[in-house]
């Protein structure tokens, strides 16, 4: 079994091309790099481990994001299955209360920060530059830094499993004063704090990059109102990340100061207010749920028109409602805190703002239905997941509206009803959208397509399992079962729904198992396809599958919103344009490519070492390890800054030019 020959894995499967790459790689063109000082090492290999650690290609980085995200998705899923097994029958003793606390904390943290966010980032990286006709992101090395810092954060959060302290156990929103030194004396909370800080750095760096890329790297003619909706949602998500993550960063800084230097931010005995943590956390936490859902909305807005054989219904309205969701998302955080006694005015204001968000969300749903309406629907696997998304996300939205009413929420707070609600929006919403996206773009990324039978089978098993797991939880919650209880008595009336939910979770697990087994099989042995297998409308499909490392042989000129659709219907005009642009590129000595670099990786390793020093080591070694890490990090940044950002030139495939 050999992996498909893809530029992500190899420079090219064409010997002439390889030769071109080699000859042009080292300082032969007009824009040649100056002779370098001996301390700078320029990696040139195109295959092997080093090429992956030093890559600055947005497609490879996106692929790595995806692999890490899927790994942690399976870890988080295993944690969820253990939780469900423990709750299958009353008075179960499969897990101890402590283990249960660790599992629900890590399940939430893992799924949100290590699975859904990086999986979205994988699509942002891989697809967004292709959709706007760019050859890479604005800052390729910063992109590599984001990836490796995300991995560093993921490692630190999960270190606890391998240490005697155990994993973090204070819940994914880590309410004060549960996280204080008094109640959590060991290092597990330090690791949680430090890991989340690194994920924040990684997310903000990546988002700054995406913002600049979308605003500044668009192909000629790609005006903002011609951007594909997925790219729009990438932009909104990036803005939400850039503006929301500082709030949790400050909350975590204050918590870290409390734990390391004995300050008083959340220390009740010295006048600290635990409610401040809740405010800071949810100022971040609520935009975060839109960070999780907007990418999925973008993906679905790409899939529905493609398989309905129609343009997206009401494109400007879909875009603006995405913007209003992001904007309103900053004004509703206190609906997570209705029962904390904020006072009637604040409660009423946040309840109203929360209900207002239902308007742009509803508008989107009607636009999607409008897209389907009267279309020639093709029921392919991505379409199935996308339709599942609309339905399941609506169900989650309905229970969300119920929470928005503060008096009703007072009854539902911290019950299984809440669990049901947010799993409907996060699995039925975000995850269905992302799973749809994997099916949709898999042929583009790897040149192979999943068989319809196995794809649809996995959809139905996931769909049935998901509903069997989470629908009964609505009733559990209304019957009073609180969340985060590790076991319950047999006489509370909770036995049947809990048992059903556990069966459902097993079915869901089988469904996800089928989904990924099929993906792995397809990766190696799936049906090979030619370019544009879905007869789609956006620019990424104009590329050969898998796309070459320079993306576009000739930078496209965009004439319409559905750019590739226009190209397919104006072949002569486009061919003439391409010939002109190809000549211009040739005059510049070919396509300019950035050099690979090891320094982003070195910087992230330094950050990892320093964070381990601060969060994990005992006081004796803390400072030394932190300093060593700090020096590695500074050296990485320094060399990164001084190696220069020049690149080399390559010439596209002849075939690619003519296609």
């Amino acid at each position: 079994m050999s992996p498909p020959s893809s530029p992500i894995f190899r420079a090219s499967n064409n010997p002439i091309m390889d030769a071109t790459v080699k000859t042009n790689l080292i300082a032969k063109d007009d824009h040649a790099a100056p002779t370098r000082a001996s301390v700078f090492w320029r990696p040139t290999s195109k295959t092997g481990l080093v090429s992956w650690l030093t890559t600055v290609d947005h497609k490879r980085i996106g692929f790595l994001y995806g692999i890490f995200a899927l790994f942690f998705f399976l870890v988080g899923g295993a944690e969820a299955l253990l939780i469900r097994l423990q709750l299958a029958v009353p008075n179960n003793d499969l897990l101890t209360a402590q283990q249960y606390n660790e599992l629900f904390t890590m399940h939430g943290t893992t799924m949100i920060f290590l699975a859904v966010m990086p999986l979205s980032a994988a699509f942002f990286n891989f697809i967004m530059p292709l959709q706007i006709g760019a050859r890479d992101v604005a800052f390729p090395r910063l992109n590599a830094f984001s990836l490796w810092t995300f991995v560093a954060g993921a490692i630190i959060i999960n270190l606890g499993w391998f240490m005697k302290e155990g994993a973090p156990d204070a819940g994914w929103f880590g309410y004060a004063p549960l996280t204080s030194k008094t109640y959590s004396p060991d290092h597990s909370i330090d690791m949680w704090v430090m890991g989340l800080q690194l994920l924040g750095v990684a997310s903000i760096a990546a988002s700054l990059n995406f913002i600049v890329t979308i605003i500044n790297m668009r192909a000629p003619g790609m005006t903002m109102m011609r951007l594909p909706v997925f790219t729009w949602m990438t932009l909104f998500t990036a803005f939400l990340i850039v503006l929301a993550f500082p709030a949790i960063t400050i909350a975590l800084v204050e918590l870290m100061m409390d734990r390391l230097f004995h300050t008083n931010f959340f220390e009740v005995s010295n006048g600290g207010l635990p409610i401040l943590w809740q405010h800071l956390f949810w100022v971040f936490g609520h935009p975060e749920v839109y960070i999780l859902i907007l990418p999925a909305m973008g993906i679905v807005s790409e899939i529905l028109p493609t398989f309905s054989r129609k343009p997206l219904f009401g494109y400007p309205i879909v875009v603006f409602s995405g913007a209003s969701i992001g904007f309103l998302g900053f004004a509703v955080w206190s609906h997570h805190m209705f029962t904390t006694g904020m006072g009637t005015v604040a409660t009423a204001a946040f309840a109203l703002a929360t209900m207002a968000i239902a308007v742009p969300t509803g508008v989107k749903i009607f636009n999607w239905i409008g897209t389907l309406w009267g279309g020639h629907l093709q029921m392919r696997t991505p379409m199935m997941f996308a339709l599942g998304f609309i339905w399941m996300f609506m169900m989650g939205g309905f229970s969300g509206i119920m929470h928005a009413a503060a008096p009703a929420d007072a009854q539902q707070q911290d019950s299984y009803f809440v669990i049901a609600h947010f799993h409907y929006v996060l699995i039925g919403g975000s995850l269905f959208g992302l799973l749809a996206g994997i099916h949709y773009w898999f042929p583009l990324m790897f040149g192979r397509r999943v068989s319809e039978f196995w794809g649809k089978l996995s959809f139905w098993v996931v769909f049935v399992g998901f509903n069997a797991t989470f629908f009964p939880m609505h009733f559990l919650g209304l019957n009073g079962m609180p969340r985060r209880t590790f076991t319950y008595d047999a006489n509370l009336g909770w036995n049947t729904p809990n048992f059903l939910a556990t069966i459902g979770a097993m079915i869901l697990g089988v469904g996800i198992g089928i989904y990924f087994s099929v993906m792995i099989y397809t990766f190696f042995k799936g049906e090979r396809i030619k370019k544009d297998p879905w007869d789609a409308r956006t620019l990424e499909w104009s590329l050969p599958t898998p796309p070459p490392e320079y993306n576009f042989a000739v930078t496209p000129t965009v004439h319409a919103r559905d750019a590739y659709w226009y190209e397919k219907h104006h072949k002569e005009e486009i061919a003439k344009e391409k010939a002109v642009h190809a000549k211009e590129d040739e005059a510049h000595g070919g396509i300019h490519m950035p050099f690979a670099s090891i320094y982003p990786f070195v910087t992230s390793v330094g950050i990892l070492v320093a964070s381990i020093g601060i969060a994990v080591m005992d006081p004796g070694h803390k400072l030394v390890v932190a300093l060593v890490g700090g020096v590695i990090m500074l050296a990485g940044i320094f060399l990164w800054a001084h190696e220069g950002n020049e690149g080399y030139h390559i010439r596209p495939d002849k075939e690619d030019l003519n296609s």
Binding site: L243, I250, L276
Partner: protein, 279 residues
């Protein structure tokens, strides 16, 4: 490049869609993010100011508004020098840019020195520590975070200053990299030695002792300062054509954006933390 291109349009980058250089755009987006960062910290301070725990010290008894007003003025003047540095390099005047950068570094160091002195003073004289009161917790965390931003800015200025000495033909001058590292270390040393020497001098004078007494306990600092200053000047002597030119104006400009932003944040902190107490 400096010889061939007489003028570069510093306000329009034809390689980007909007004409805004990527480095400028990313810095603006980062500053938006940093607004939220400082916003949350300042909010924390103000919340605890509204809900002080019983027995909280009165900030007016602790703050020295004269000293802080002075350091605020210095920081604002450093922004002027930063703007002059950007202007100089946009016209290709490297020598003028270097002097402006050095003055900015100098003013930044004065601000940092005032902050170190202020912290020492508050801890030793007024016994306000980061752990013993909520005021100490929020005050030191907020102003300390801002001070860290200034320190990062000073370090960045030093890196940019030294980078302006990188020779055009690195092949003919193999030692430039290590000389640059030494240059950075020398300037960082000069900044630190001067901060602590001036603070030592102030303490000696406040104690009513003379200049000779200062030389008595802080002679090492003075020697260090002289040595690092001398080394910095030695390394800064002209050595032929450099690679740094007008095309690097965008690097200086985006650093300037950061520096001005940190100044603006200080105006807010000065108002919310200090001036508010004197209403």
């Amino acid at each position: 490049m400096s010889s061939t291109s007489a003028t570069i349009d510093h306000h329009h980058d034809h390689t980007t869609t909007t004409g805004i250089p990527n480095k400028k755009l990313v810095m603006w987006a980062f500053l938006a993010s940093d607004c939220m960062f400082f916003g949350c910290l300042i909010a924390t301070h103000l919340i605890y100011r509204l809900h002080p725990p019983p027995g909280s010290p009165n900030p007016k008894d602790i703050f020295s508004i004269e000293l802080t007003s002075f350091s605020t003025f210095i920081l604002l003047m450093s922004s002027l020098m930063m703007a002059l540095a950007v202007n100089a390099i946009q016209k290709g005047n490297i020598k003028s840019m270097r002097w402006s950068l050095l003055t900015t570094i100098f003013f930044g160091a004065i601000f940092l020195g005032c902050q170190v002195y202020e912290f020492q003073h508050f801890v030793h004289v007024y016994h306000l520590t980061i752990t013993n009161s909520m005021l100490g917790t929020t005050f030191y965390t907020l102003t300390g975070t801002h001070g860290t931003h200034v320190a990062i800015g000073v370090f960045w200025l030093i890196l940019m200053y030294v980078r302006s000495f990188q020779p055009k033909n690195t092949a003919a001058d193999r030692g430039w990299f290590w000389r640059g590292l030494l240059h950075i270390a020398a300037i960082c040393g000069a900044v630190l030695f001067s901060i602590f020497a001036v603070i030592g001098l102030t303490h000696t004078l406040q104690a009513g002792e003379g200049f000779t007494a200062f030389l008595g306990h802080d002679f090492g600092l003075v020697i260090g300062l002289v040595a690092t200053l001398g080394l910095s000047m030695f390394l800064a002597r002209p050595r032929g054509q450099v690679a740094f030119d007008q095309a690097n104006a965008i690097d200086v400009e985006s650093m300037g954006l950061y520096w001005h932003f940190v100044d603006i944040v200080w105006i807010v902190i000065f108002t919310a933390v200090y001036l508010l107490e004197y209403l």
